[in-house]
């Protein structure tokens, strides 16, 4: 947070100061034969903290902080600014691609390219910086005194006063001697690093650091009735849906809808895969509802996918075909807007509200259903998890082995669906199994899924562009547009065939003794 000189590789030490110390006192009080404080600057500064919805920057050990005319990356370990870039204004959110090309953008893109950085907290700081000078008039480090005030809708909340010590390279011992001198004058309460400071800032702003993750972090009890565990998992999936609604409405980035849809698919998929836990008559309307929900968001997601690949698609074509592609993406942009409006309308509708409300009430009902209608409800979670995973795995292997060397579209499409089902089950029940067995299995499966995923994506895109071409013929648009789409289809077809050619090898890697061994290890320990 302090404006640390860039050439300093040392770690900053933060101390919370008891009460609000007027910092000018420091200069007068700290006067010894060995050290002297020399003021460098004092300034009021607004600092706005950004992170992605899923706290990617925090996970990568950096804070993204917007100050007056620049945005900076600050290491959470050291508190030192590692990179900065000129940047105007305090937008509610921005993408790494909004910044000019350069080292900063590169580092921010490494944190996340796809997710928006959202404004999380605004601080007003009063910062005084002093040089700590030894008896040779050599600077040994910096002392920075800050008072922090959190600003939010409800007003200003004085947060804390901090003193930070930043030793220059090679002057840790001297700075430590200075710290001892300082503590004779001021009660230095807790020694913290910047990560602690960051957490306390976020807490005061009402944000829970790493409060959202689309990864399942629930710990299930293997012996608990599966009815209870399923409800826990489905309630979690519901919470993910709800958490993402706002971001979808605000159009912040594409991943809100993506996480939302994955939660919907996970819900449907496990409900269908693990039968006999709930009363099927109770489930049917919900299953229908979730299918509808998926369908209603398909159009929006499809547009998102095309727009996200915009850059890649342009790279596929020679420059003279690009104007046609621009037209295509302009249309895509328009249809996305319409799809977004219509989906948001649905999210705001009474029927959607009622649907989620009923679903939640259903999930919160703890009493076991009628044994005849739901014979597995009271079985242990681990036994049901094991049998469902085994079944889904066998289905993947069976389906995959039936695919011949030509591997037609239909077959690959079907296998992709079976893989997804297996993946959802593995992730849902991952906490029941030892990490070292489940993690490599998921990794293996992921590789296969990537191959199949690309294949199906190419097929779907080719089909979509084909339809587009047909409507173009009817409307008789100019030549360049259909030519661009044609060019694109050609490239996508090539890519699709490449992926198909890879399939046999990828599947063989999955369907081998080692993987079988891993599954046996996983499932025999029930």
């Amino acid at each position: 947070m302090p404006a640390a000189p860039e050439h300093n590789p040392c770690k900053t030490l933060y101390f919370q100061v008891h009460g609000l110390q007027p910092s000018w006192v420091l200069q007068e009080e700290i006067c010894s034969p060995e050290f002297r404080l020399s003021p460098v600057s004092s300034k009021h500064e607004r600092q706005v903290f950004y992170d992605t919805f899923d706290w990617h920057a925090f996970e990568k050990n950096v804070a993204v902080v917007k100050k007056k005319n620049a945005v900076s990356l600050i290491s959470l370990d050291s508190g030192i600014e590692t990179e900065s870039e000129a940047f105007q204004g305090y937008p509610a959110s921005f993408f790494s691609s909004d910044l000019p090309e350069g080292a900063f953008r590169e580092q921010l893109s490494a944190v996340s390219q796809i997710r928006a950085f959202q404004k999380y907290c605004t601080l007003e700081t009063f910062v005084r910086t002093y040089r700590i000078v030894d008896d040779n008039e050599k600077t040994i480090g910096y002392l920075i005194s800050e008072s922090l005030t959190v600003i939010d809708k409800s007003g200003r909340k004085p947060l804390t006063s901090l003193l930070s010590l930043l030793p220059l390279k090679g002057y840790q011992d001297e700075t430590d001697a200075f710290r001892k001198l300082l503590s004779r004058h001021i009660t230095l309460e807790v020694s913290m690093d910047f990560r602690d400071v960051f957490r306390s800032i976020m807490q005061s702003a009402g944000r829970q650091v790493q409060g959202y993750s689309s990864k399942i972090r629930l710990q299930l009890d293997p012996e608990a009735p599966v009815h209870e565990s399923m409800r826990t998992l489905l309630i979690w999936a519901l919470s993910i849906m709800k958490a993402n609604e706002q971001g979808i409405r605000n159009n912040t980035d594409t991943e809100f809808l993506h996480d939302y849809r994955v939660a919907v698919r996970r819900t449907r998929s496990v409900m269908k895969l693990i039968k006999g836990v709930f009363d099927p008559d109770d489930c049917a309307p919900f299953l229908d509802g979730f299918r509808e929900l998926g369908k209603k968001s398909n159009g929006l997601r499809d547009s998102d996918v095309y727009l996200l690949r915009q850059h890649t698609f342009f790279g596929f074509l020679p420059s003279f075909l690009k104007p046609g592609l621009e037209q295509f993406f302009a249309e895509m942009e328009r249809s996305r807007k319409a799809a977004h409006r219509s989906f948001c309308r649905y999210l705001a509708s009474e029927s959607y509200g009622r649907f989620l409300h009923d679903w939640e009430r259903f999930l919160r009902t703890g009493t076991l259903p009628d044994l005849e209608k739901a014979p597995k409800a009271s079985l242990s979670t681990i036994s049901v998890a094991g049998s469902s995973i085994r079944k889904a795995w066998k289905k993947v292997i069976r389906t995959g082995r039936l695919i011949g060397p030509e591997a037609n579209d239909q077959e690959l499409h079907q296998l992709r669906i079976e893989c997804k089902k297996l993946r959802y089950l593995l992730e849902f029940f991952a906490s029941l199994y030892p990490q070292k067995t489940i993690v490599p299995i998921i990794r293996q499966l992921k590789e296969l899924q990537e191959n199949l995923g690309s294949f199906v994506d190419y097929s779907v895109q080719i089909m979509f562009l084909h339809e587009r071409l047909q409507t173009l013929r009817e409307t008789g648009s100019n030549n360049l547009y259909p030519a661009s789409i044609g060019g694109l289809v050609g490239v996508l077809h090539l890519k699709k065939e490449e992926t198909r050619a890879h399939f046999t090898k990828t599947f063989r890697t999955f369907d081998q003794e080692k993987t079988r061994q891993m599954f046996r290890e996983l499932l025999d320990n029930e």
């Binding site: 050439h7 040779n136 390279k169 002057y171």
Partner: protein
């Protein structure tokens, strides 16, 4: 990483002043991280940067390689400029080196480990010809020799090039410039006229100046304190010439 050794067999020729001022210009001008290694037991460049050596630092640690070296590097008060302080135990560095299996390569090897962190390294060498100076020659990309335009100073320059030839060393690394030049002195003018075209001599000269002498009072590089002074301008031009040869 590029390394420049400031070297002269003769003392008092403006070697340390050049090391301090050129390294400052390297750090502030190129904005690239620069390190000064004070290899002179008198520690004059450390003194100019107000840096005291840590008590524990010994020549032996220098030979052990990067970890020990890193922990002894100190930041100067100038951005991108660090210094490895001199220490009196350097007196024994030669003895330590002679116990190494490959003394001439040892220094270069240790330096390679610093190359991730520094773009330019300057050695401020002691005015003598020892095993340590030889390993500095081997480790440097360029050996820069300040020469006062006097007979004695020229003589030591030729002693150095003679030493290189006698020992089959790469003398194309040696560059010289006239230092502490006083144009009003006939002898200076004559010597410059006679030797300016000598192989390895750069055309830039550093004039004699009280600004440079006063570095001992400011304890700071001249271009940092008096950026527009004649001396600062001369060093800046010299540094530009050096960059072309690095």
């Amino acid at each position: 990483m590029k390394s420049v050794a400031l070297y002269s067999i003769k003392g008092g020729v403006g070697k340390t002043a050049a090391a301090v001022n050129l390294s400052y210009l390297s750090a502030s001008g190129t904005g690239q991280p620069t390190l000064v290694c004070d290899l002179d037991p008198q520690g004059a460049s450390s003194f100019y940067f107000r840096i005291k050596a840590s008590k524990k630092f010994t020549g032996e640690q220098f030979l052990k390689g990067s970890k020990k070296i890193y922990s002894n590097i100190k930041a100067t008060d100038f951005e991108n400029l660090d210094l490895l302080p001199s220490d009196f135990s350097y007196r024994n560095l030669d003895i330590d080196l002679s116990e190494e299996k490959k003394p001439l390569k040892k220094l270069r090897k240790n330096l390679e480990e610093l190359s991730e962190n520094y773009r330019y390294v300057f050695f401020d060498c002691a005015p003598n010809l020892t095993l340590l100076s030889e390993s500095v020659f081997a480790a440097s990309d360029l050996i820069l020799v300040p020469v006062i335009p006097t007979t004695l100073s020229m003589r030591t320059y030729f002693q150095l090039t003679g030493f290189f030839e006698a020992n089959n060393l790469d003398s194309s690394k040696i560059f010289a410039f006239f230092s502490m030049v006083e144009k009003k002195k006939t002898m200076h003018r004559d010597i410059i006229a006679e030797y300016a075209a000598t192989k390895g001599f750069l055309s830039r000269m550093i004039p004699y100046s009280s600004d440079i002498e006063k570095m001992g009072i400011y304890r700071s590089p001249v271009p940092a304190v008096l950026p527009h002074s004649q001396s600062a301008v001369a060093y800046r031009e010299l540094w530009q010439d050096l960059l072309k040869n690095l």
